[in-house]
Symmetry: C2
DNA sequence: CCCCGATTGCCAATCGATTGCCAGATTCCT
DNA sequence: AGGAATCTGGCAATCGATTGGCAATCGGGG
């Protein structure tokens, strides 16, 4: 297919005649009031309530009438006003999604899964970002809560009590965290870590470190706990280094302490930290995985771009997002005492993805 | 900071007494009806309308009364019901953001900018994804439109006419595209491309290729046009290869044709394609930038993870998102004939970021 | 002491859709 | 044919907040 300058030219001419000016379009807009069910009712010659029923209680109305109304609606290009509907029903058909940091690639995948699950059921996602600040998050949640049917909190910085308070107010699901009394979607850290430890053990490592993430992060603790529990059973020593911010910088900042610790393999709280760590270490002329094997968590976008590509414990983030929303939807149904759509919640195991950043330790290789 | 098993244990005990079971929390939730201005009015001993005015027309009400109402509101933990407010005012305080593909990292940055600009003014973002499908996008836009005050379309697949139709319906801003008669936020491709061409010319390249993105993409065309216009002036030949999908795969798929074209430097429609191209070429044992220099567009997250890190024409995506929302907000104000908040729209120039994927061509080096 | 204007708060209509209740029309059963 | 059951569609109240118009109150000036 060729670049076609003519097409562009032609289309540009048309536009300049009539609507080259954005202001013109705007002016035109102002006049148009959106049609309501009253308009539809008038055209179809029925009562507004009949229109309402025809449009969302199929069968409740005589087929003939129903069709007449459908046609009137189509003719007027009627679309329902969600806000007006939300008032009597109390349901906005929206789900609030609260993220710690939109730019962290781990969230993209979750958002996509969530969006998919939501739009599948006719729900829309309302987005808010806490920018890793508990205060902003509380504020954001308060702002979001009244306009959504349910909340999904991802990697939240809120305290357990705040979360429970919110949960009493609105259906709520937390992701990557567990809070007593609140529905949670958390990938199983165990399987992936078992695989990963088996992997490094097989390579011959006997001492590993964990570069810790934020103190308040539930998932950080979960990963460390799992490591602490299992590594010794495989005959390995394990130390925690940190805490640090869950970003490239956080990883960079841990380098000195990692090297000083003398370990031959290191787990980082997440891929971002792992990558930051790796790049910083490499910039000091140190070989990865020769001198140090590095393992991340999550398998975010870009974790296979590095060289060596990052070995990581993958979390099924897309599924996590999907399930979080599905669970939220089922909570809404439950609130309405509607038979809960049966939740076939697959387990969410993590798994090791072996790439180039792990290898045998120097002493052996 | 040490891992503290006790803390966890303790907190777990508390929860198990009272709310270990999510169902218990849910049950508790059902009873609570949210307080309304009527409740506040009763407590404060005034008329609901007075409450409304006290809460959002500061000064209209006697200071004494106003304070009494504030206190009543606080006491009841009243928060306004946005849906109920939206009905009479016609404003939902939301902006709809429509993306082609949430998982494309280039959008993350835009989303963050948009979210920031929106929440700054008390607006919330409503998210929809078209998954690169025009049909889904049209549907999504229709679904979104009635519940938002304005729409922002990013890298939309819609036709010009569809966009104009939407624009007559709601304030609308398109990003990374220009449509006659519609407000648009588009980074200036010129400066970055000039820099990039100067860069490759200085390195000694005389022939470049452009690996094209989706046919329907306005930005794809804009970049190609700019290249086509400027390269010859610098004494370089330029060919277009494609079109292709704007992903890693799209880049991989272009490899054969790129190599066959005999060029020594290649621009790709975006970083994703550039990276896909680079990795595929490297996997064939071909050196980058030795045999082929590669340049991307956007400077997405991860484009500096590759080795060599990617030289790319950076677009100020965060600013783009911010400005798109700001413009949308100003359109809303304009519709309301409110004095438009003065828009200090900085220009959005692109700039070359030189990293490792460009170098002198073989013949010279 | 009266009048005037400003201030303050209330009344009631309104936004658009939903829904319980009811009445008239049909159908069905025996 | 009589009566019950079922269909249909209309009426009107309701969700929670906003807002134009009005009435009561108050202070001040003459």
């Amino acid at each position: 297919m060729w670049h076609d300058a003519e097409t562009q030219e032609a289309s540009h001419n048309v536009t300049s005649e009539d609507f080259a000016d954005p202001a013109a379009v705007r002016r035109r807009r102002r006049g148009t009031p959106a049609p309501t069910i009253y308009d539809v009712a008038r055209v179809a010659g029925v009562n507004p309530s009949t229109v309402s029923r025809a449009l969302n209680k199929p069968g409740r109305i005589n087929a003939k009438t129903e069709q007449r109304i459908q046609e009137a609606a189509k003719q007027l290009d009627y679309r329902i006003n969600p806000m007006a509907r939300a008032l009597p029903t109390g349901r906005a058909n929206t789900i609030g999604l609260m993220l710690a940091d939109i730019t962290n690639p781990m969230f993209f995948t979750i958002v996509r899964g969530a969006e998919r699950a939501a739009s599948e059921r006719g729900y829309t996602l309302l987005l808010a970002e806490s920018q890793e600040s508990g205060e902003r998050e509380a504020e954001g949640a308060q702002r979001l809560a009244p306009s959504v049917d349910a909340l999904v909190l991802v990697a939240t910085r809120l305290g357990d009590d705040q979360i429970r308070d919110l949960a009493e107010w609105k259906p709520l699901v937390v992701v990557n965290r567990e809070v007593g009394g609140v529905d949670a979607i958390v990938p199983e850290v165990g399987p992936g870590i078992d695989e990963a430890l088996a992997h490094v053990a097989a390579l011959g490592h006997t001492s590993v470190a964990y570069v810790s993430g934020p103190t308040g992060s539930w998932m950080n603790r979960a990963r460390w706990d799992a490591l602490l529990d299992r590594a010794p059973k495989l005959g390995m020593t394990v130390v925690e280094i940190g805490p640090g911010v869950p970003t490239l910088e956080g990883g960079r900042d841990a380098v000195t302490r990692v090297l000083a610790s003398g370990v031959s393999a290191v787990f980082a709280y997440n891929d971002l930290m792992a990558i930051g760590l790796m790049r910083q270490i490499q910039s000091q002329g140190i070989d990865v995985p020769g001198r140090l094997s590095i393992i991340g968590f999550d398998d975010i976008f870009g974790s296979d771009f590095t060289s060596p590509p990052l070995t990581t414990v993958r979390a099924p983030l897309g599924l996590v997002g999907e399930q979080a929303v599905r669970r939220a939807l089922s909570l809404i149904d439950e609130d309405l005492s509607v038979p809960v759509a049966e939740l076939t919640e697959e387990p969410l195991p993590t798994e090791l993805v072996v790439r180039g950043s792990t290898g045998p330790p120097l002493a052996i290789g």
